[in-house]
Symmetry: C2
Subunit: 264 residues, 2 copies
């Protein structure tokens, strides 16, 4: 049986404060935990019903601490309405935004002047300005992973990607994608990557010429891209509308534009 | 102040049984209610804080019964965590699936043999097989409206589109889209429309030749398209994957394929 302290410890990880202090986050359910165990992220503890554990002995070998627990205990620590088989505590990845540039261009640290930073920006990076709905954020991370986007840079106003609902909606893509949080204005001012911005009054995305490398910048559902970021956009695009809906969900708009960019 | 009976009556509409009995559904919030009042749907009752009502006098003229209520009363009848200004009871639309064919082709009833039914199928109709997540369904309806899809045919296993979460996620598109529920197998066997099916092992959607008219059939997130419907698919397509995610969210897949179809 789980101790009261153990339960309290896990419950603290349901909040951002607890995650930042312990540098751990919670992953639940067979599908997500299997993807976690197959990823590069560290896994500190795992709590499983006997059945799941018996079927996944090989997968859990790399976990520091494995606990067999009862359904009742799993209910106590789960955030699911109907808890599923297994719950793991994973180490919060410590992605360094500065390394995004050097790593991807294989520069050594002697060469990183600003021009090199920009040329290091290979492929498509996603940039999210204030996506607050956790389900939306999770879907965006999953879609980005589908389209081979490996880096997502988020404004501090974007939802925390290690919270339960995002982890669930990501379906494992969270463990394959580097997600950074930073002040986007300072970042853009310093690095000046090529920015494709999704706006309502931009060029028709059917006619736009997309570059091979660049950042796709998506604004929040309600407010769009922040005014202070608009001057940094190199290519403003809009998804042409045929019917009558006023706007598209931010996740849908991201997906359609990533699909267009992938086609280049 | 609202009577206890009035409150109970509205709360019954939060459930499918209540909606079917009363032929009414609940719409909440300024944005959705404004869209409702601008649509063709009947609006039976409206409950508003004094401020919203004062600002929207013209809009509410067509409502049978308008009540000014307090914030406390609004809280009592709302399904929102933080209730918003206004709540309306709209009449459940009674779309007849049989009319979809005759109306769109302007045939009179003397001519509706099966061949005519098929030719009546103009533009793109969406067909949903077991989309159970209400947020997903709402996003799909909104996206369909963006792309000019006017008819959505759902399996009985698809979520009820008049429940709170779907209404919210639709952002008004629910009031412009005819949504039908029927047994898809019987329907396809009888009408034989051209079916484009989203599957995991189909033709690359980048290379597929899409027709101008037809049904886009989307399966459920977990199970895909039901086995019994597979024989009716004329064109199986898949969205090419570049990265590593195992699948796309059903709403995202729908959006990307509608975007491709819209481009034809």
């Amino acid at each position: 049986m789980l101790s009261r302290n153990e339960i309290l410890f896990i419950k603290e990880l349901h909040h951002k404060k607890g995650r930042s202090e312990q540098l751990l986050f919670v992953v639940e359910g067979s599908k997500s935990v299997s993807e976690l165990l197959g990823s590069k992220l560290g896994v500190k503890k795992l709590f499983s019903l006997p059945k799941w554990l018996a079927e996944n002995q090989k997968l859990v070998q790399r976990v520091e601490e494995v606990h067999t627990i009862s359904e009742k205990d799993l209910e106590r620590i789960s955030q699911h309405k109907t808890p599923q088989e297994v719950l793991a505590l994973a180490e919060l990845p410590d992605y360094k935004l500065e390394q995004l540039w050097f790593d991807s261009a294989h520069h050594d640290s002697a060469h990183h002047d600003s021009a090199h930073h920009d040329s290091a920006h290979r492929g498509i990076t996603l940039m999210l300005d204030g996506i607050q709905d956790p389900g939306n954020l999770g879907t965006i991370i999953r879609t980005a992973d589908w389209y081979g986007v490996q880096n997502i840079i988020c404004s501090p106003t974007t939802a925390d990607c290690f919270q339960h609902k995002v982890v669930q909606a990501c379906m494992g893509s969270l463990f394959r994608t580097a997600i950074y949080y930073t002040d986007l204005k300072s970042y853009l001012a310093k690095h000046k990557p090529y920015i494709i911005g999704a706006v309502l009054d931009g060029q028709n995305a059917n006619e736009a010429k997309f570059p091979k490398d660049g950042c796709l910048l998506i604004g929040s559902e309600g407010k769009g891209i922040s005014d202070e970021l608009l001057p940094y956009i190199n290519l403003k695009v809009s998804i042409p509308r045929i019917g009558k809906a006023e706007s598209l969900n931010a996740g849908i708009a991201t997906a359609i534009l990533l699909d267009r960019l992938a086609g280049r």
